[in-house]
Symmetry: C2
Amino acid sequence: MRIVVADCSVDYAGRLSAHLPRAKRVLMLKSDGSVLVHSDGGSYKPLNWMSPPCALTTLELEDEQHDAGIVEAWQVVHAKTGDKLIVSLFEIMSDSSHELGVDPGLIKDGVEAHLQELLADQIELVGDGHQLVRREYMTAIGPVDILARDAAGASVAIEIKRRGGIDGVEQLTRYLELMNRDPALAPVQGVFAAQEIKPQARTLAEDRGIRCLVLDYDAMRGMEDHNTLF
Amino acid sequence: MRIVVADCSVDYAGRLSAHLPRAKRVLMLKSDGSVLVHSDGGSYKPLNWMSPPCALTTLELEDEQHDAGIVEAWQVVHAKTGDKLIVSLFEIMSDSSHELGVDPGLIKDGVEAHLQELLADQIELVGDGHQLVRREYMTAIGPVDILARDAAGASVAIEIKRRGGIDGVEQLTRYLELMNRDPALAPVQGVFAAQEIKPQARTLAEDRGIRCLVLDYDAMRGMEDHNTLF
DNA sequence: CTATGCATCTCGCAG
DNA sequence: CTGCGAGGTGCATAG
């Protein structure tokens, strides 16, 4: 990763043509060849950029560029589309490089995890008198999202998905088969809970005696906010 | 603009929860309080970020944070939504600030303008023997994209859109009404040119005697490149 | 001001 | 690999 702070102008020619007049900006040059041109404001979107895969080359300066005060010029060309980004540098305020290594990447305690958390807190949404046994109930083939008990004390295994598809039903089915062999749990009722359940998945689930539950994420979140105020 | 290169971990809580494990990253702190967390790869989207309007505060370190090796911690809170970004810094490799000033901003020669330019250069695409009169032909209610003459010398008004919808047809219709009252121009034939014309728009246009022309942007651009080689 | 549509969108998943 | 939909989308324009 190389970071250059410089007085520069930028031209882009690709899907559209764009030009950035001369000004001080931050240029971020990533090791995959990509370039971001950032100003001191706006959101995360750069003023101009080139996405990978692309290659950066330093251009030979022509006399007139030299006369115009340009001290360095880069050409960044996209490997597939041929889109071109040309950065003309008039003055370099700072130029530094850092070895960052490969990033472990973002862990999204995404919506599914959050849904699980919310439903655990609002387990009565599954049915009156239901009580939480535990989240991530471990079985031999993996964790069931939520294990609960209904008003009569019978086991309820809940699989949570953001978008409920066939494969989610299959997954829950495997858990149910296994859990129903455990005398301490059986009989186990299955509940397939999701923000959105696809018709095919609903059909398959109901055919297997699994109950479908559509979750209203915003309402659940609102409820939570009301309870805890974050 | 402050740029920090540091070994850090990042947590976000807002519409979703997200966590970035400890690693070396580039932190861009803009003067409006916004923060971008970039790794050495990917596209222009940061791994994590906070958009303005927001405010950054340095947190008092608790003992256990200190014991964990954290040397500094920032909290960035969005002014409206309350979304929170927490950056825990374990080691700071580099920390520099630069005064950039206000950016003059991006000048886009957008696709519609480019299409207009290309079609003006390749006016024969409208029909054999057509000749350009002028681009941005001014009328009392605004400029017509292109005014041309057909092989017989009759006026042709061309409205150009990237995606042709109903409103584009309405716009051209207004121009045509006005221009057809001008004896020096009348009769004026209308041409609705776009990369893609929606069925409803096509129906409306043809019902009003306006000719539809689908433009192949890439082919026109290719033609241009072939002529000028950029 | 909010609502709507586009984007050099980016990103991830299903088919 | 390609097409489709969602996004902490961002962004400009119309109403």
